[in-house]
């Protein structure tokens, strides 16, 4: 009797397991089939303060313009989108793409493009005449073999030198340094006062610093040439730039946990300088808890990073159209909102970035953003390394490794060899 009971239980268990497997597949398929006609799944990593509000504002416009679609927010939390991208890459490999996903415009998308996961958006650019409203150099820098695969929603700037005017005054530094040499001189002056000359965060913030130093040392054209087919990473100019990087790093304080604590040292008057992207503005300026509630120009100030005045090192969040999107029409409708003046002007003031379009409503952008909008319209453009514009994922990772290893041995020659190898191995 007892044995029979056990075997019944065993068979039952095995049955449940098998049923569970089938049932799972069924309900998944059925569920998607039922709603995919209406639902538009938008995959992003905008969950933080500001960015989530911006996404919500764009969503409201989308739902007003497309009453027959519902917006499905598939956001995955995590600062720079690391977790989101890991999940996305598994979804794409399993051929279960979201309807549209966020990605940094530029080389970061190359892996997806090569794998044939993305549909070119040239038709949309032609239909909406986007080539006329985006800066020419931006369109050029995101075009891959004649095709454009994403719609940039916003523009952030990487080459910003944040500084504390009080600390500079105390050290006898007249103003923001214009060249790398002036910068090193200023760092030396601050060092004598006992304050931290340059605050720094975790490893990626050092790569972020490196891209500004490279741009400032090499100049815009030479920097942009590094990412073309016949780039020369072993040149004496690059050596000089890396030596500058070493000198500048020798003035850096104790590495902080991330960019925020490093930026906070400048706001609190502990450190003089910090080179960080312009998302730091929101952190400085916004009232607590989202930010530090500091007054711009008195508690903190900014300038283009040394040697890069007149050049805008950009990065951009953009949306794409994956091949096999369950609701392609809905995704295209979303891309139209993301590309529109109305959509970008709703999103960007909240996110703390500027629109990629040249025809933005300037009255919506105050203080830093107003200044930056002017610069965007007039500056030459260069793409960011760390934020996925100029180097594909593998190359960017190799550069990160090289900078991390440089932190261990401070050997410029080794760093340069590693960068030369990284460029060769990138297959870009």
């Amino acid at each position: 009797m007892r044995r029979r009971w056990i075997s019944a239980a065993a068979i039952g268990l095995a049955g449940i397991l098998a049923l569970g497997a089938c049932g799972g597949g069924d309900s998944g398929g059925g569920g998607e089939g039922g709603t995919s006609a209406k639902r538009v799944e938008v995959f992003s990593w905008w969950t933080g303060p500001g960015e989530a509000d911006g996404l919500k504002a764009m969503r409201e416009i989308f739902e007003r313009q497309n009453p027959n679609y519902t917006f499905f927010d598939a956001a995955v939390a995590g600062g720079s989108g690391d977790q989101a991208r890991a999940l996305l890459s598994s979804k794409l490999q399993a051929n279960q793409p979201p309807d549209t996903f966020q990605g940094h415009a530029g080389a970061e998308l190359q892996g997806y493009i090569k794998a044939g996961k993305l549909e070119p958006l040239n038709f949309l650019y032609d239909e909406l005449k986007l080539k006329d409203v985006f800066p020419e150099q931006l369109v050029e820098q995101i075009t891959v073999a004649g095709n454009i695969y994403s719609v940039p929603v916003n523009i952030h700037r990487s080459n910003i030198l944040w500084f504390n005017p009080g600390v500079l005054k105390e050290a006898g530094v007249a103003g923001a340094p214009k060249t790398i040499e002036e910068f090193i001189g200023a760092l030396e002056k601050v060092k004598k006062t006992g304050k931290i000359p340059l605050s720094i965060g975790s490893q990626w913030t050092q790569v972020h610093l490196l891209e500004s130093v490279l741009l400032g040392s090499l100049g815009t054209d030479a920097y942009n040439a590094l990412w073309t087919a016949n780039a020369d990473w072993s040149s004496a100019e690059v050596t000089k730039a890396l030596e500058n990087f070493k000198t500048i790093m020798s003035y850096a304080g104790t590495p902080q946990e991330d960019w925020q604590p490093a930026a906070k040292q400048v706001a609190d008057g502990e450190a003089a300088f910090n080179i960080m992207g312009d998302w730091a503005y929101g952190y400085f300026h916004n009232p607590p808890d989202g930010g530090l509630g500091k007054t711009s120009k008195t508690d903190f100030d900014w300038a283009p990073s040394p040697g890069t005045d007149g050049t805008f090192m950009w990065l951009s969040d953009s949306f794409t159209l994956p091949k096999g999107a369950p609701n392609r029409e809905g995704a295209v409708a979303w891309l139209k909102v993301a590309a529109s003046k109305e959509g970008q002007d709703a999103f960007n003031p909240l996110k703390g970035s500027i629109p990629a379009r040249k025809d933005a409503d300037k009255s919506l952008y105050q203080d830093y953003l107003a200044w930056n909008l002017d610069q965007w319209a007039s500056n030459k453009l260069a793409g960011s390394i760390q934020h996925g514009v100029v180097a594909n994922d593998a190359w960017r990772t190799a550069i990160n490794d090289a900078v991390g290893l440089f932190g261990q041995d401070q050997d410029v020659a080794k760093l340069q060899t590693a960068l030369v190898d990284a460029a060769k191995a990138s297959g870009q």
Binding site: L13, T254, E257, D393, A394, T397, D401, L405, Q408
Partner: protein, 305 residues
């Protein structure tokens, strides 16, 4: 006649082993597919030249396993893993043993202490990491927070250091939260070991003229040997696979790189499946070096009994 009456029940009844097999078959199938199947697949990728996600790889033998040693980062992550393992396993064993020893000596309120020491086990490495990231903040002097600030408060400024940012001993610092988390578990193992030593044996040793230290040295410790070995295996394989703790303390930085983190960057950042699989294979092999001899030893011992 008798044979005929005996047959029907035998026919009706399934063989004795069948229900048992049916009962475990779901887990056998699941393990075969999700553990050994995946393991085999991983080795297949590791032996191929599939260096991006699109092109299918072809068999290249042990090329990836050899080339990995040319990478500076791999050497660093292996060194880090060794330092971490030595400090973590050693530290947790010593601390766990010491705590169990105190309990065994009849500490008042033993139950309460036992619970307190075991509590960290209930926390995930991620949560431990978040707390210890703050405790082990590397700022010193006026800017110190966490443990460095505590040292400063008590005038122990000379104890302030860079913690996991220290180039030579950073990984030893990284082992501290792991020791904190696992020593309670080791204590529980040792306590069970201590309690398993029959009182008569200790009594006999005392009668033979052993002092208390010698009782422990020659009688109790001998009984603890299997427990120590089990604890070492358990801690050792946790340590070689460590990922979550380090990611939540310092993220993906070279200063605290270990093979599991290198694997993650290789797969998700560099998009190099073959390299990721190779690192994973090395992790599995290094764990196997610990676990397989233990399993063999265990099987032999059971046979002897």
């Amino acid at each position: 006649m008798t044979a005929q009456t005996a047959l029907p029940p035998a026919r009706r009844r399934a063989p004795r082993w069948l229900p048992g097999l049916l009962l475990v078959s779901p887990s056998i199938v699941a393990i075969a597919v999700f553990v050994y199947g995946m393991l085999g697949w991983n080795f297949k990728v590791a032996l191929s030249d599939q260096h991006d996600e699109i092109t299918p790889g072809k068999f290249v033998g042990l090329e990836n396993f050899v080339n990995l040693w040319d990478e500076t980062r791999w050497g660093i992550s292996v060194r880090h893993a060794i330092v971490f393992t030595l400090v973590f396993v050693g530290g947790a064993l010593v601390l766990g043993w010491f705590l169990a020893f105190l309990m065994e000596k009849g500490l008042k309120g033993e139950g309460g202490f036992r619970a307190v020491y075991l509590f960290p086990m209930a926390i995930s490495f991620i949560a431990t990491g978040v707390v210890w990231r703050w405790l082990m903040n590397s700022a010193t002097g006026e800017r110190a927070v966490g443990l460095n600030a505590l040292f400063g408060m008590f005038g122990l400024d000379f104890l302030q250091w860079q913690w996991f940012r220290d180039q030579d001993w950073g990984m030893a610092a990284m082992a501290i939260p792991a020791i904190w988390q696992m020593s309670g578990y080791v204590m529980a193992l040792f306590l069970a070991g201590f309690r398993g030593v029959p009182e008569e044996l200790r009594e006999a040793a005392r009668v033979d003229g052993c002092n208390e230290w010698q009782v422990y040295r020659y009688v109790v410790f001998a009984f603890l040997r299997p427990v120590t070995l089990s604890a070492m295996i358990i801690l050792g394989h946790i340590s070689l696979k460590v990922f979550d703790l380090i990611v939540s303390v310092s993220g993906k930085q070279i200063i605290t790189d270990v093979p599991a983190i290198f694997m993650w960057t290789a797969v998700y950042d560099s998009h190099d499946p073959a390299k990721g699989a190779t690192i994973a294979a090395y992790i599995v092999l290094s764990v196997a070096i610990f676990v397989v001899p233990y399993l063999i030893w265990n099987a032999r011992r059971e046979k002897r009994q």
